[in-house]
């Protein structure tokens, strides 16, 4: 039984590192995009990373359901965690793909805000992955990460609308507005989904001790 348990943990650890690899790549692509450099190669790497993570997710789910666990509802909770993380990575892939085909130069006036949003997204994802790790062993430590995610998400929301306001004011090209709006929304969607997972983890922390 010990070997089996370690294996499930290992698959999840592999998934987490693939997830972070994809997020780091997206972070680099966005930084390059701000400097008007379209990095199609890195965008492809994000797609590859998402595919790898997808395979790991399937392996994890198969293992989760094929092996009897003491808490069947924990199987469902773990399933939800990994599938939700996968959706975040899916949005990251969509963002990378959109950046690779964006047909305009980046508006330099938005450089600082977009860079900040990019940083916040990365920090939120990092905290999320840490939270999904420590929830296995320490609820108090998990709460700390969840609180970080919550506060960073609020800053990200402010930034999103700040940038949208500036975009609508200054850009003349409607197509550029629509596409840039789409980019910001995609990036924020990843953040928003991360917060949904954070809320779910918070629910688990409350649910388990009060059973």
């Amino acid at each position: 039984m010990k070997g089996k348990k370690r294996k499930l943990k290992d698959i999840f650890a592999d998934y987490q590192s693939e997830f972070m690899k994809g997020i780091k790549l997206l972070n680099t692509i966005i930084n390059n995009f701000i400097n008007n450099k379209v990095d199609k190669e890195k965008a492809r790497e994000v797609i590859i990373s998402e595919k790898k993570a997808d395979r790991l997710k399937e392996e994890f789910i198969e293992y989760l359901y094929k092996n009897k666990r003491a808490l069947p509802f924990l199987v469902e909770d773990r399933y939800k965690i990994i599938t939700s993380l996968d959706k975040v990575l899916g949005v990251a892939e969509m963002t990378a793909r959109s950046l690779a085909v964006y047909p305009f130069n980046f508006n330099s006036k938005l450089e600082k805000d977009f860079s900040n949003l990019n940083r916040l997204c990365f920090e939120i994802m990092e905290a999320l992955i840490k939270a999904t790790t420590v929830i296995e062993t320490d609820f108090d430590k998990t709460k700390e990460y969840l609180s970080i995610i919550s506060s960073l998400r609020r800053s990200a929301l402010d930034l999103k609308f700040q940038m949208l306001a500036e975009t609508y004011e200054r850009m003349d090209n409607h197509l550029e507005i629509i596409l840039f709006d789409n980019l910001i929304s995609l990036l924020y969607e990843a953040i928003s989904r991360a917060e949904e997972i954070s809320d779910f983890l918070n629910g688990l922390i409350i649910k388990y001790p009060s059973r």
Binding site: A70, L71, F73, L74, D77, V134, T137, Y208, R211
Partner: protein, 325 residues
């Protein structure tokens, strides 16, 4: 063997299977294991079959159990015993079809009362014994309620509240589930041996010398397990889902109850296992502030109906039974 003797033997075998089937059909021993999802139904049915047959073969040898002694003051004939057992089995089967757990002893006493009143009037009944038993049946769910309520609170405070991290919860629940399976398996083993003794008694008592004891035990063991497989699964599902269960909460419910039932048996207190477990599950739901399944009134109603219904069935069955035996 003469033709008539062979025919009677076949009838007796069928009757003992029906009785064992009826008792098995209302056996809810594994309900908390099912409710807490510790084992799947197919595994539960395999285990119950193993314990039903082995329990009957090993523990069912003690066939000295008497039906009606202490309650009836009239002479208890073979036809009275058979009538009581068949009517009990019928009421158990009817309750099991409705997926409702009842007390086997409760149904047996109801049948005894019916036949006693019919044959000897109210003077043939030892009403004091009936009254004492009735008090314990009322007390049983109340005892179960409070025991489960407080044992959950204690386990929660001493163990669950001190856990942190999903892995530690999983580990604790795993330990709880192992203990639960072990205790309930012992319960199932002893219960099948004890409950089947009535059905075995018919085969060995009435047809003394004709039927081999091991064969009689095997037949009733199979009848008992068939009862669980065919109808008992519905009762197990119904009781197991009265409230949300996990191995730890099922543990909080089952273990103290097993201890109380053991003490009850030791001191000759006729507590009802079915009544206690239902009361305990309600107590557990109250302690956890979680809802119970709708339709609890059906349980109360069937408990109230058990006495008059089994009494009525026994009177109806007495005529054909007395003609055969």
């Amino acid at each position: 063997m003469e033709l008539t003797q062979a025919a009677i033997l076949i009838i007796i075998i069928i009757l003992s299977i029906v009785i064992a089937f009826g008792i098995g059909s209302n056996d809810e021993t594994f309900s908390t294991i099912y409710g807490s999802r510790t084992l799947q139904m197919k595994h539960i049915l395999i285990l119950t079959t193993i314990f039903a047959i082995s329990g009957t073969l090993i523990l069912g040898r003690n066939v000295s159990k008497t039906v009606g002694t202490g309650i009836l003051t009239i002479t208890i004939t073979n036809s009275v015993v058979i009538t009581v057992l068949i009517s009990t089995a019928i009421w158990l089967i009817l309750s099991s079809i409705l997926k409702l757990p009842i007390s086997t002893t409760h149904a047996t006493i109801g049948s005894i009362l019916g036949i006693g009143l019919f044959l000897g009037g109210s003077n043939s009944i030892n009403w004091n014994t009936v009254l004492v038993m009735s008090i314990y049946w009322i007390l049983s769910p109340i005892i179960g309620y409070f025991v489960a309520y407080f044992s959950y609170k204690i386990i929660h405070k001493l163990i669950i509240n001190k856990l942190s991290g999903l892995r530690s919860f999983e580990r604790a629940e795993k330990i709880f589930s192992y203990i639960l399976i072990a205790v309930i398996s012992i319960n199932a083993f002893s219960r099948s041996g004890n409950d089947c003794s009535n059905a075995v008694g018919i085969l060995t008592g009435i047809e003394a010398g004709v039927m081999d004891l091991n064969l009689a035990l095997l037949i009733t063991g199979i009848g008992f397990s068939l009862g669980i497989i065919v109808l008992g699964r519905g009762v197990i599902k119904n009781v197991g889902t009265l409230t949300e269960l996990h191995p730890s909460t099922a543990f909080a419910c089952e273990i103290p109850i097993s201890v109380i039932l053991f003490i009850g048996t030791l001191y000759g207190i006729p507590l009802s296992g079915s009544h206690i477990i239902v009361g305990a599950l309600i107590g557990l739901a109250k302690a956890r502030k979680t809802p119970t399944k709708k339709g609890l009134w059906k349980l109360i109603l069937i408990w109230l109906l058990t006495f008059p219904a089994s009494a009525l069935i026994s009177v109806m069955i007495y005529f054909p039974t007395s003609l055969i035996l």
